[in-house]
């Protein structure tokens, strides 16, 4: 009985992709074992579980590995029917949520990483991209909730909420690392900002996010590394 429904998560504390999976597990109340990976010295288990990408997160459920954060989220939603349903029942609404989750994941987040990892012209370009994408996202949120966004609680979080919180929760740390606010989220994306604020106040989210100082440290390290290797 103890072996059934054994769940473990291989992750890295600063990874927003890992954060998504942790949030999903916590929202559903699924007990799991967490394995912190040293990304410079990946465990043989990780390499066995994810031979194609060799990356975190990896969810292991009863010995079977699932990889890619958004794929893991849908797997969790399909396997555990208790707690919030991350995707709605209606196929059209599901398609909308998948579209915008993928949009944040591919279009917004990748450019936010560039803002962190570059300076000068390259950074300016990335800031412009993020601003444009955020405007589109704001319209997208309106289209998903034409009657207004429902009040958030731990029973009605969705896939897009999890992606939003994991992607934007470090915006304060990012501001500190860059020394200035390149994008004023509250001004440019009021709907997104208010949704994010509400999500950050949920006990599950508060408990799942690493301490601010740790995030600042990790982001500083990533920025230094990237700028150093770019100037070589």
């Amino acid at each position: 009985m103890a072996e059934e429904n054994k769940v473990s998560l291989h992750g890295f504390f600063a990874s927003p992709y890992v954060r998504r999976v942790e949030l999903a597990l916590k929202f559903k109340g699924i007990p799991y074992e967490y394995v912190e990976e040293d990304l410079k010295n990946k465990s043989s288990l990780l390499l066995k579980y994810n031979p194609v990408h060799k990356k975190v997160p990896v969810l292991v459920h009863n010995g079977k590995p699932i990889v890619e954060s958004l794929v893991i989220l849908e797997y969790i939603d399909e396997t555990w029917k208790n707690g919030p349903q991350f995707l709605p029942e209606d196929p059209y609404k599901r398609a909308q949520i998948r579209f915008w989750a993928s949009f944040v994941h591919q279009q917004v987040f990748q450019n936010m990483v560039l803002i962190l990892k570059t300076d000068g012209e390259a950074q300016e370009k990335a800031v412009k991209e993020v601003s444009e994408k955020l405007s589109l996202l704001e319209e997208g949120i309106k289209s998903i909730f034409p009657e207004g966004i429902p009040i958030i609680d731990q029973e009605n979080v969705g896939l897009l909420d999890i992606v939003i919180v994991s992607t934007f929760s470090s915006y304060k740390a990012l501001k500190e690392v860059l020394g200035l606010e390149l994008i004023d989220l509250e001004k440019t994306s009021p709907l997104l900002f208010s949704r994010l604020k509400a999500l950050l106040e949920l006990p599950v989210v508060e408990g799942a996010l690493p301490p601010h100082e740790k995030v600042v440290g990790a982001l500083k390290f990533m920025r230094q590394n990237a700028l150093n290797s770019a100037s070589v």
Partner: protein, 225 residues
């Protein structure tokens, strides 16, 4: 269910073909609208304001964009002849390969087509790496990615079956050598023999003309910019 289905696409687009294959495999009647990408219809721009791209599926007046998201929608609306497995573990595996096709294999392959020189050399290396991963992990002991029948992953990798060959011929680089990729090579043959696929692949000679022309335009404009 009885509501009208419309598909905005272009004849030579692998993304457009994915949706056509799915609709035909499920026997869903639809109206096809061929878009001129140099003069996009107002309907297309209205239905896909974010990316302004094809394919767009319009069902009962509601638009869905992004080919693989459209496929999941089609699968959920019309469950006959399922394209996705039923077990969550196998579904997760299928979605892993869909992501791989969308984020890794596809972009690498098309970068080979769109570039030249050093950039193209890097893209060739990336594409080979992607193909090796698929060869080693995607088709072990399977006729199709979907098992005994084609499924959503076969459709996602459909680009490899025809478009990759066209790209190889145009740029003059052989990427998918049969002796290095025996599983993929066999899969391509099997995939193209599936009747719905066979009847709904764009004409290769016409594709050669079109893609040669586009590549010349792309390389000229990147030289001039």
């Amino acid at each position: 269910m009885g509501e009208e289905v419309k598909l905005h696409g272009t004849w030579a687009s692998p993304f457009s073909c994915r949706v056509i294959w799915a609709l035909k495999l499920k026997g869903i009647p639809y109206e096809y609208i061929e878009e001129d990408l140099s003069n996009k219809s107002s309907q297309l721009l209205q239905h896909n304001p974010v990316h302004k791209k094809i394919p767009v599926l319009v069902h009962g007046g509601k638009a869905t964009c992004e080919s693989m998201i459209i496929l999941e929608y089609v699968e959920e609306m019309w469950p006959q002849n399922p394209l996705l497995p039923t077990h969550p573990c196998e579904r997760a595996d299928a979605r892993f390969w869909i992501k791989f096709a969308e984020e890794k294999q596809g972009p690498a392959m098309w970068t080979v087509y769109r570039t030249s020189g050093e950039e193209q050399e890097k893209a060739v290396k990336d594409t080979l790496e992607m193909l090796r991963a698929i060869e080693a992990h995607g088709l072990v002991d399977k006729k199709y990615f979907g098992g005994d029948k084609i499924g959503i992953v076969d459709i996602a990798f459909g680009q490899i079956a025809q478009w990759l060959g066209v790209i190889e011929d145009i740029v003059g680089v052989k990427l998918l050598e049969a002796h290095k990729f025996p599983r993929l090579h066999a899969w391509i043959k099997n995939f193209k023999e599936v009747p719905i696929i066979k009847e709904n692949l764009p004409d290769r000679d016409e594709m050669m003309v079109l893609f040669k022309h586009f590549r010349e335009m792309l390389l000229t404009s990147s030289r001039d910019s």
